[in-house]
């Protein structure tokens, strides 16, 4: 399957997780990795499965590299019908707004017509788990669901 990994990050954890996912599943899929900052929402292809990894900053806000993307979606209101995505959050449960960044982004994509595949989960930096250990099984499940959904379509 064609998979585009998109990251929204400030300190680089989300980008590293995308790279980890790529190396872990390299043999099985064709991957492209981009920063959300470089993505034109209107040009997102419906024949690739988009997997977004995004952290939270400030008081539950989007990380800096995801902000221009969100602004573009809000301003240009692209029709994302047919686009399938899954989203994985990075966060810190010390903040009351745990995982709000990825939550906001998911809502935004769904409001623009995209279809979310499976649940969003958020890695908690306080948990002691490595993000990749949480993300790999999640990723495998989402890919299976996306494959099924794309076959049905």
């Amino acid at each position: 399957m064609n998979i585009t990994l998109l990251f929204g990050t400030e300190t680089g954890n989300s980008e590293m997780l995308c790279e980890d996912i790529e190396s872990e599943f390299e043999g099985d899929h064709d991957f492209t990795i981009s920063s959300l900052a470089d993505v034109d929402p209107a040009a997102m292809e419906t024949n690739t499965f988009h997997v977004v990894v995004c952290s939270s900053y400030g008081d539950g806000e989007l990380p800096a590299s995801a902000q221009p993307f969100a602004d573009k979606v809000e301003k240009t209101k692209p029709d994302l019908t047919g686009l399938r995505f899954a989203i994985f959050g990075l966060g810190d449960s010390d903040y009351e707004t745990f995982g709000e960044g990825s939550h906001q982004l998911a809502d935004l994509l769904v409001a623009a017509g995209a279809t979310q595949i499976g649940p969003r989960i958020v890695h908690d930096v306080q948990s002691g788990d490595l993000a990749e250990d949480v993300a790999y099984p999640w990723f495998t499940e989402r890919v299976a669901e996306a494959e099924a959904a794309m076959e049905d379509a």
Partner: protein, 420 residues
């Protein structure tokens, strides 16, 4: 030929720089060594970021990859510069490229009368002490009952939060009992946090103030709100939203629009004096301690100011051929960890571009350093310190840091010792 690159300073800028260089030079990776004067890496992530912000410190998991999987070397316990173990020129002899990512390790002085009184201390020094930096183990102040904090940036908020928390509020942190007990013993009753700007222009991030609002047993007083009349700003909202406890043990007063003028006392500080910028009003706060959180500057070891003044292109980090600067050392004491990432990526691009035109000379790299010195430590040495610190963590703490350099070195040099 494999290029040899030395990065002086294993803080976030140095780590991001190494990460970015390896990405840009994929297929033709240079040998990168990160050199630090301490036997432990990560700079202010370990020694600046507050003990109760472990989430922020977790960025070191990312940096550990460099050493554990990406072939970057760590050369610890080696200080570079005129007063250090090795001069910068000698280091440049051994490497194709040297990058100075040594941060800014001194507190900026206010240049005011009374600044050298006992009881007046810089926030960088104090937070290094709280973080168990081996050079600052005893650099603290007797807090007394009344503390004044000068400055209202995020570092000032860190200081306020640690001083204002109760002894039981450090669960999950790595603040040692020595520091907690010392602060608790003072029984601080009043903390005034005083800044030059009006509330709506203050330097703190609102979320830092909201976090202070969660501490139990505090009464908040917010003065000088008149300066922000008619303004609508998240910072203003954050301070006005602070809710006082019914049964306070300590009063925290935010004061805005005051410039410090002098500190008064005989031997030990007894009051901090402030004035309005236009001189119309003055304010004297009796106190037992003053903590100034007004920025940072370089120590003189690497002659930073001269190097930066003579730089060929400081915006891209180019100081001289083969010599670069990154992070706080390059751009001054501004910006959080994410800003160093962007900064280091730009400097890495400059280096990668210049490498193409650099003459091919066979430089010895770290072999020259290990041949010359027998006190150097490596990444495995840090891993032993790290494991020891985590294993000896007290109840409710994530680690117990070694604050004594000799103890750190004993662990770090262990495997390197040769039996007679």
């Amino acid at each position: 030929m494999t290029r040899k690159i030395a990065i002086v300073g294993a803080g976030p800028s140095g780590c991001y720089l190494a990460q970015s260089l390896l990405k840009l030079c994929k297929g033709d990776e240079p040998q990168i060594d990160m050199i630090d004067r301490l036997p432990v890496p990560y700079g202010l992530v370990r020694y600046g970021v507050a003990a109760d912000h472990q989430g922020t410190k977790a960025v070191t998991r990312q940096f550990a990859r460099l050493f554990e999987r990406q072939g970057v070397g760590f050369v610890g316990n080696l200080s570079i510069g005129a007063e250090g173990d090795l001069t910068l020129d000698a280091l440049r002899e051994a490497y194709d490229v040297v990058v100075l990512a040594a941060g800014l390790s001194r507190d900026r002085k206010l240049g005011l009368e009374g600044e050298d009184l006992d009881g007046v201390i810089g926030a960088g020094t104090l937070t290094r002490c709280w973080n168990d930096h081996p050079d600052h183990a005893d650099d603290t102040v007797t807090h007394g009952k009344r503390v004044v904090i000068v400055g209202q940036g995020n570092v000032a908020m860190d200081v306020l939060r640690i001083l204002a928390k109760g002894a039981g509020e450090f669960e999950g942190s790595d603040l040692s009992d020595t520091h907690i007990d010392r602060i608790a013993a003072a029984g601080i009753e009043a903390i005034d946090i005083v800044g030059r700007s009006p509330a709506h222009l203050a330097k703190f991030d609102p979320v830092m103030v909201k976090e202070i609002g969660k501490i139990a047993g505090l009464k908040f007083e917010i003065a000088d709100l008149g300066l922000s009349e008619g303004q609508d700003d998240p910072r203003l909202e954050a301070v006005t939203g602070l809710e006082s406890s019914d049964d306070p043990r300590c009063t925290v007063t935010f004061r805005f629009g005051w410039t410090p003028t002098r500190f008064v006392g005989e031997g030990h500080v007894t009051a901090a004096h402030f004035a309005r910028a236009d001189g119309t009003e003055t304010l004297d706060i009796p106190c037992d301690a003053v903590i100034s959180a007004v920025g940072f500057r370089a120590d003189d070891t690497l002659e930073r100011d001269a190097l930066v003044a003579a730089a060929s292109d400081i915006d891209t980090g180019r100081l001289a051929p083969g010599l670069y600067a990154a992070g706080w050392f390059r751009r001054g004491p501004r910006g959080t960890i994410p800003e160093n990432r962007t900064d280091s990526q730009a400097v890495a691009e400059a280096i990668a571009a210049d490498l193409a035109d650099m003459p091919e000379v066979d430089k010895p790299g770290s072999a020259a350093l290990f041949a010359r010195f027998d006190h150097l430590t490596d990444y495995a040495g840090w891993q032993r310190i790290d494991a020891h610190e985590q294993a000896s963590a007290g109840e409710g703490r994530v680690r117990r840091k070694l604050a004594d350099r000799a103890e750190m070195l004993k662990l770090a040099l262990k495997a390197m010792e040769t039996t007679p």
